[in-house]
Amino acid sequence: MKTEERADLAAQAIVRRAEERFRAHWMEIATWTDRFFAKLLVGQWLFAIAIALLVSPYAWEGKTRTVHVHVWFAIFLGAAINAFPVALAVRRPGWVVTRHVIAAAQMLWSALLIHLTGGRIETHFHVFGSLGILAFYRDWPVLVTATLMVVADHLIRGLFWPESVYGIASPEWWRFLEHAFWVLFSVVFLAMSCLRALKEMRMMAERGAHIEALSESEWRRSSVLERVEKVSA
């Protein structure tokens, strides 16, 4: 084999190894983030139940009280939101589907928490906080899924219960775009940071592959020298 061919093969091996290292690193991040979200989703469920019990434990009709429907929604709708993403995070961490389902579930949690806290403006920050945490995946399409959930929520409610979103009965058809815009504003910059993080991860993987190749060739050379020394001795 000629020297040039050997150099080509060595370069290809380094590229393959760099890709392997990159994928392994990303898988590790995705797996860790899936498990982190599984805990967060369960935590949010417990928090929602606590909120419902503290803020609206009972509904009243004159002197008669009954358990408030918010308590049942927190328990059962909360459990339903978590069932699929938590199962995926436990059984299939790192899978691309897992993180998209988690993104959708996290946005549903924003919607449920906003309802349970009586539409308080402060709870709306949960949406933006969640987008930031979803950026842990360093996978920008996950942020697109989250954005689409917000748009779908506003679009559907805008059609059937416009007052619950915009406070007026007949808003302009484009009003949902105004809300979605601010989510998109945040998502664009988070997506840019995801792409940058991936680029850095790729560079790290390439450097790692180079170092591995160098140490391997060093090891080979030293073993050859050792053998030569043994033979000459």
Partner: protein
Amino acid sequence: MTAVTTDAPLACLFIPDMRTEWSGWLAFGIVWVLTLAPGFALLWAYKMRPGEADGAPDVWPVGTRIARNRDRATLVLFAHPQCPCTRASLAELARLMARFEGRLGANVVFLRPLDVGGDWDSSDLWRRASTIPGVTVVRDDDGVEAARFHASTSGATVLYDVQGRLLFSGGITSARGHEGDSAGLQRISSLLRTGKADRSDAPVYGCSMRHEARPALAIQKETP
């Protein structure tokens, strides 16, 4: 615990072992969506279901203990002291009072049925209403005042002008226990600012104030 080695979900369709598993997750996903969609629809339907509204008297009722302002509009909000949904109505009232400081006087009238315990009406809602500038808190024994104003749902709000003529009757939240802009709030703001509004009512969202001692609370109509 197994991590799937491929990142491409479509690849699962072409690998027999994974095809079965993919089908399982797909079925789970469909069930998930079919559970959540009606779940959220039920939640929204509950939040958007208005309470009873019987229409307030066209002029300020005679015999009422609630004081009417002679120099500015008077707003009266009827509340159930334990209703969690009314927290949002009070939050909106606080915003309204801040926006029209000095141009609006308000009363929050808390229901107190006759045969309830001593501290039944000393709730956080009462305390919260007491802290809103420009608001007078009134106790309504057996719902007599609520009956005079035909209010049967907590959060029912009426607005009268200086002559005692009804300007608005309805709710000031957009949904049950939901803070934020609402048609009622916009109409009251418009009436106070320009004297006009597209409508003089809005749905009321909150707990029912009807109680056993006076089952026909809102039916009792009085003429001025």
